[in-house]
Symmetry: C2
Subunit: 200 residues, 2 copies
């Protein structure tokens, strides 16, 4: 346990709390008051920490993710869908029929699944652009979708193992931790693209 | 004023507050108690609304953006840099030297400007990945940067007028409102890329 606390940087009381809550599997008993923890525990601890501190999930939401990670009987892609569905942003769009998201995804030839949380997220983003008086036209939508798809293909490939199976844990961490990376790189690319045209 | 309230959907009391705070320019007096508002006012009102409600800016931060939009004497790219610098996320990285961001941007051959807020945003994103035990390697960084740059080039072109000058207002709205769009499309692209491999 001491090594786990030291290597993860997570306080002992927090590690014990996660153990009690079942978010971290118990160690292997190595004596009456001792247990051994391995790399699996360290990885799980980091996952739970990122979900709580970066993604801001509640314990119930963390449990949904952890359950999907541990559910090795399930198809890996089905488990992945469940885990990603537990991640924020949550929030209901004004129109439950998701008309903007449906039209956008159909025009792109992509899967339209109203139950997938990112579909409602797209609906809210498109509605926000309309409200601001700058609705997204079809050309801009296709431009965004094409660039983002290239990125997503590389990301999916990066979380698949040699057998083509995805690591649910790696996919969840990547979804949460790569979002701020992408947004930062985008603003820096704006700066770089306009550099030399006067922008500092 | 009634038309402005109706077309923008912003309550009259809020419009008056923005006028008093100088975030919305005064209308042109058309009588002792009447003023006329035009499209400029409607656009400004939508901008202020998005900055307050979507981006969560304080009034002082909104004023920095509005000042940059109104500063027509300034180079447009310089004004744009100032306006974008007022947008969240804010927050200081652990190491003010921004060593991770510097190394990343230098390896990409991009501008490294420690005073530009997105540079600190990149530093925090890279440090977060390290802490989670999944640091970004050079290949992944180049992959992200290449896809995001293609997207950023299209976005910069979309906010430039015929003379190649950027609209600061359009760039600010796009930065705030296109972020949720990009994140939603990315998650949907993950779903679409893995569709048929079992993921719902």
């Amino acid at each position: 346990m001491s090594e786990l606390v030291e290597r993860s940087g997570v306080p002992r009381a927090t590690v014990k709390f996660y153990l009690r809550e079942g978010l971290l599997p118990a160690g292997v008993a190595s004596g009456p008051t001792q247990a051994t923890y391995d790399e699996t525990h360290l990885h799980r601890l980091r996952l739970v920490r990122v979900l709580v501190q970066v993604a801001g999930l509640s314990l119930a939401q963390v449990r949904r993710v952890v359950d999907a990670v541990e559910d090795t009987d399930a198809d890996r892609y089905e488990a992945l869908g469940r885990a990603l569905g537990a991640l924020p942003p949550h929030g209901a769009p004004d129109d439950p029929g998701l008309p903007r998201a449906r039209a956008a995804l159909e025009s792109l030839g992509q899967v339209f699944d109203p139950a997938y949380p990112a579909t409602a997220q797209l609906e809210r983003a498109l509605a926000g652009l309309e409200e601001a008086g700058i609705p997204l036209d079809g050309d801009r939508l296709r431009s965004y979708a094409a660039h983002v798809r290239g990125l997503a293909e590389d990301e999916v490939a990066a979380v698949e193992d040699a057998a083509g199976e995805p690591s649910v844990e790696a996919a969840v961490l990547g979804t949460v931790l790569h979002e701020p990376l992408i947004l930062a790189l985008r603003r820096l690319a704006h700066q770089d693209v306009t550099h030399g045209r006067g922008m500092a």
